[in-house]
């Protein structure tokens, strides 16, 4: 992932001293994570871009509140997610984000046979379809954990919930996903 704590500390310190070049590097380093997070929340690439841009501007103005040595990702994610949620609220609409597969999936072991790869790709497509059918709350927590690959505290910052709640919410979401997988398998 993008996190490089040592460099981050120096970058943030320089940005706090007013070096816009340092802040540009922070934007470059975290814009993908921020944009994808905003996309998952808003369901629209255009809204996600607006929200991410606005979030980076607000984060810059709030740099003084960033504690030296702290992890920047949760701090940034909280601002990005707030901005994305505000955007959804103010527009009065939320587009259902349609997560799509890039390819099949990352094989865990040795290279699969073509037949196995095809089965895995179909399974992936169906599994993602079931994730898309979950409630927003379930889908968001699964997206944070598995697709955005956020840690517990980063997910908590993104969702605006205590870290302890992340675990229980993820557990419930996975249970409901498993139930759907089971139904789909039986059907």
């Amino acid at each position: 992932m993008e996190g490089r704590p040592t460099d981050d500390a120096e970058l943030f310190a320089r940005a706090q001293r007013g070096e816009t070049a340092a802040y540009e590097e922070i934007v470059q380093r975290y814009q993908q994570m921020a944009f994808r997070t905003a996309y998952v929340i808003t369901g629209s690439a255009a809204d996600a871009e607006d929200a991410t841009q606005e979030a980076f501007v607000k984060a810059y103005r709030a740099l003084a509140s960033f504690r030296a040595g702290a992890e920047p990702r949760p701090w940034l994610l909280r601002i990005v997610a707030n901005e994305a949620r505000n955007r959804v609220r103010s527009s009065g609409r939320r587009q259902q984000v349609e997560l799509r597969l890039a390819g099949s999936y990352r094989p865990g072991g040795a290279a699969p046979s073509p037949e196995a790869a095809a089965v895995a790709a179909e399974d992936s497509r169906r599994l993602l379809g079931l994730v898309n059918q979950l409630s927003e709350e379930d889908r968001l927590v699964i997206a944070c954990r598995y697709f955005l690959e956020l840690t517990g505290d980063e997910t908590a910052a993104t969702l605006g919930i205590p870290e302890g709640t992340v675990k229980s919410r993820l557990s419930r979401a996975l249970s409901r996903l498993r139930a759907r997988v089971e139904e789909a398998s039986i059907a």
Partner: protein, 257 residues
């Protein structure tokens, strides 16, 4: 389907097709350049300073220079533009998106988003694209841009491929509209369109001026930077840009409704 026990592992291995991440560095840099400032450095003060610059430019380039100079009893300075930079090549995408006009919208959504009656030129008809920006809480109350693709009689502007851009904002002069620096070969002519006053600016492309983080004035070619008609129609400042003749621009302005 994957076995139940494999669901989490399977989720872990899914590769999603994310939309391309936009490079926000430039946009963020422009915006953080205008940091929060004391009142004398506020956006309004910057806008006023930009307006003074333009008035100074008008004073220098129009027959009414003495009259305009008399309005401003302040120290001003001229910044001449010795040459205009060639705009950097633009990435592919919707015409307006390339120009950083804000969020793409529809005409109906734009009408709902702003507080003033949006003007559309009947001579051009429905725009090909509509954008709303900057944020609605901006001092101007937002800004709407209508994008028209090139058409017969109106060639595309070289830098952008757009035929005509019509940008509207309510109320006060701000640096977005008037922060233009007049380069060599550019002329400004006061005009009246259906009782509304304005200016026809023709000639060399214009730069847009903004204030960087150090408070210095910087220049960048951001939009069409072609012949431009500025007109105030009932409190709405309308900017019409394009490879237009004066007559074409006046006709478009006269058909705003």
């Amino acid at each position: 389907m994957p076995e139940l026990i494999e669901v989490e592992q399977h989720l872990d291995r899914l590769e999603l097709d994310w939309p391309a991440t936009p490079d926000l560095r430039h946009a963020v840099r422009l915006r953080i350049g205008v940091r929060r400032r004391p009142w004398f450095e506020s956006r309004w003060a910057v806008a006023a300073a930009a307006a003074i610059l333009v008035l100074a430019a008008l004073a220098a380039y129009t027959p009414s220079r003495e009259a305009i100079a008399g309005w401003i009893n302040l120290h001003t300075f001229f910044r001449t533009v010795p040459h205009l930079a060639t705009p950097t090549p633009l990435p592919p995408g919707p015409l307006g998106q390339r120009l950083g006009l804000g969020r793409q919208s529809t005409l109906a959504q734009a009408r709902a988003a702003v507080t003033w009656p949006l003007l559309v030129p009947t001579s051009l008809g429905q725009p090909d694209e509509v954008y709303v920006g900057p944020a609605p809480d901006a001092p101007s109350g937002g800004e709407v841009t209508l994008v028209y693709a090139a058409r017969q009689g109106i060639p595309a502007a070289g830098e952008t491929g757009v035929g005509v851009l019509i940008t509207e904002a309510r109320g006060a002069i701000n640096s977005e509209f008037f922060g233009k620096i007049i380069g060599p070969g550019t002329t400004i002519e006061p005009v009246t369109v259906a009782g509304s006053s304005g200016y026809w600016i023709s000639g060399a492309p214009h730069d847009v001026v903004f204030v960087d983080s150090s408070g210095g004035v910087r220049f960048e070619t951001l939009r069409l930077a072609t012949n431009t008609l500025l007109v105030n129609v009932g409190g709405t400042v309308v900017r019409i840009e394009g490879n237009l003749t004066r007559a074409q621009a006046l006709e478009i302005a006269a058909s705003l409704a």
